[in-house]
Amino acid sequence: MIIEIGYVGHFLLLLGLMNCIILLSPKVLTNSNISQEILFSASKLHFPIILISFLCLITTFVGEDYSLDYVSKNSNSSLPLIYKISAAWAGHEGSMLLWCVVSSFWMFLASMYSTNLHKRLRVNFLAIMGILNLGFLLFVVATSNPFDRNMTIPLDGNDLNPLLQDFGLIVHPPMLYMGYVGLSVVFSFAVACCFEDDFKKEWAQWIRPWVLASWAFLTLGIALGSWWAYYELGWGGWWFWDPVENASFMPWLMATALLHSVIATSERGIFKSWTILLSIFTFSLSLLGTFLVRSGILISVHSFANDPSRGVFILFMLVALIGGGLLSYALNSKKFIDDSDVRLISREGFFLLNNILLVTATFTILLGTMYPLFLDILGLEKISVGVPYYNAVFVPLMIPLILLVGYVPILLSRTSIDSQLVQLFIIFVISIFLSFIFSVQSVLFFVGIFSTVWIIANILFDFYRSSDNSVKIRRRVGMYFAHFGLAIFIIGASVSESNKIEKEFTLEIGESKKVGVFDYRFENLKEFKSANYDAVIASIIVSKDDRFITEINPEKRLYHSSDSPMTEAGINGRLDRDLYVSLGNMVSDNKWSMRIYDKPLIRLIWIGTIFMILGAIFSIRFKQSKIYE
């Protein structure tokens, strides 16, 4: 009886709520050994409860149980199985339940791996995670319950938003949430440390893998989102400074700052109170991002699912959690005394500069995202903050940061001034050589190329110099991977932006047009019927000097449930360039408008992020044997 499963899922949510309340017993009842043991067990038990509830939701989707309102709104019987499953987290209610699953999973891990912390810290830490889980779950049950029932049961469901019927969007939300919510572990730990006498080096060491893991997931989530936007929206762009993208980018920048400052705290016992403050703010920005996206306060390309009435609940939670965290910090920050001082030109000094630049960059994005909202609320003239603003304020902050990144290997290996100058000379020669290859036309573009060479060459010089010292290399390999990834990303972003060719024109079947060095011939147009959409697929033959290069097949789809056609870009992706064709409108029977983009090196943007993620993975080192008293 498939019908019952919805009730089981609903019941488990309520059970989860009870479990969270029981979890808090050492805090609300007595802080005895027994209640502490209850807390430790409940913090583990929460994950299976919520996970099974979520599996129930998926089952109702697969079983086409349209007695559930959420299922009937986001799925229908003609949807392929994979999208029936992923539809479970495609809408607001389901994705909030996914958030709860991820949150319970992190609490499970936190409970499993915190046995080496001393008891009071562990109890406080898990209790704060319990409060967070309680809050999220309460939000789902009270305002966004995916198990709510329909008054009348429809024969078939609506449909999954066609934009979301895509592999990228199946994996993007879980990865992003793993990152967002992973930061709640860091937040809870930081707040728990506020109630201790000191923030010990060992504790900073304990939290570091959690920061790195969350950061890696966040990076992956954002990269997947940007990749999806690139091939699915049909505009050839990969980052739009859309408020929803900004909502994920802000915690990422803060987490990047944090993963540097936490190294200084764990190794030298400095920046203690700053690291705690940063931890609190980083997760606060994750929450703020969720608030912005989920409350419907932003209307933008990404907001598919929102309901303004929920905003009040999230806003309240936001104020309570951030306020609580900051209050705990403010009352206790005086007692954190750093073990030593810092010089500006040192690794720790660089961490500080990195933090200043990254936090300012975050603030800039926050300002750009919130300012139009504030003007709107105050009833002043509406404005739009977009690419030109961020180019003017964000990019200048990144340039000094990148120069610092490139200088790190020189700093660490204490290279003499003479060889520094030789290195700089070689780097300039290579940069100028590359500038000719890519026919550089602007200063900013040259800065991009120089930065890439600057970072990569300095890393290679250091590898060359310390090739006999494997311990040193092993210690630095994570950092070098991440910084190398950044360099690859920069060259991809700057070359694809500066040397892109974008044309929009109409083409008749049989006609051809030259864009850049390639000829594009509009060969034919085929019709295609799928289970839940009809499509026309164009065949574009690309050739160079009459030599066949490739065939590109852009599509226009019309989903049965929707009246607006969807564009599926056709992409011929290679390491050195992407040829990108997207169909526009039909002008007459055999004539279509289309956009043809030639984007050199654009793939390096995502390849760069893969290196960054690998860097984070290589840097994760658990030292489980130690007891952090």
Binding site: L233, W235, G237, F240, D242, P243, I270, F271, W274, I299, S300, V301, S303, D338, D341, V342, R343, L344, G349, L352, I356, V359, T360, F363, T364, L367, G368, Y371, L375, E381, K382, I383, S384, V385, G386, V387, P388, Y389, V393, L397, E502, E504, F505, T506, E527, D534, A535, V536, K556, R557, L558, D563, S564, P565, G584, N585, M586, V587, S588, S593
Partner: protein
């Protein structure tokens, strides 16, 4: 097929530009202007009928020798400065433009003074 009926029939008059320079200006301009009927898209990305008309208008103005600045002020007078992705520097937006500068001074002063010997 239903797909054909729903396609909007648009007539795009001439697709070649008078000069490469004008084409470059045009491409840059349509990326910095907002489509007024879409959620958050620039004119370059949008295929909405209003956006297509506006692009046509911008192209005509460029070919008539109007500068980028003239076109922007023409459009923002007509549609309010909401159309500009580059918000104007005025009293209302002063904090938007100066905010990052003030912030970095404040944060830099606070952190460097506290931690640097």
């Amino acid at each position: 097929m239903r797909i054909y009926h729903l396609m909007i029939f648009l007539l795009i008059s001439n697709t070649s530009f008078a000069s490469v320079d004008i084409e470059r200006q045009y491409t840059k301009l349509i990326e910095e202007l907002r489509c007024m009927v879409c959620q958050n898209q620039n004119l370059a990305e949008s295929e909405a009928p209003l956006a297509v008309d506006m692009k046509e208008k911008i192209r005509d103005m460029l070919e008539a020798g109007k500068t980028e600045k003239e076109i922007k002020s023409f459009l923002s007078e007509r549609y309010s400065s909401y159309i500009l992705y580059d918000p104007p520097v005025n009293m209302q937006n002063i904090l938007l433009w100066l905010g990052p500068f003030i912030f970095i001074m404040f944060l830099g002063y606070f952190l460097l003074r506290r931690y640097i010997k």
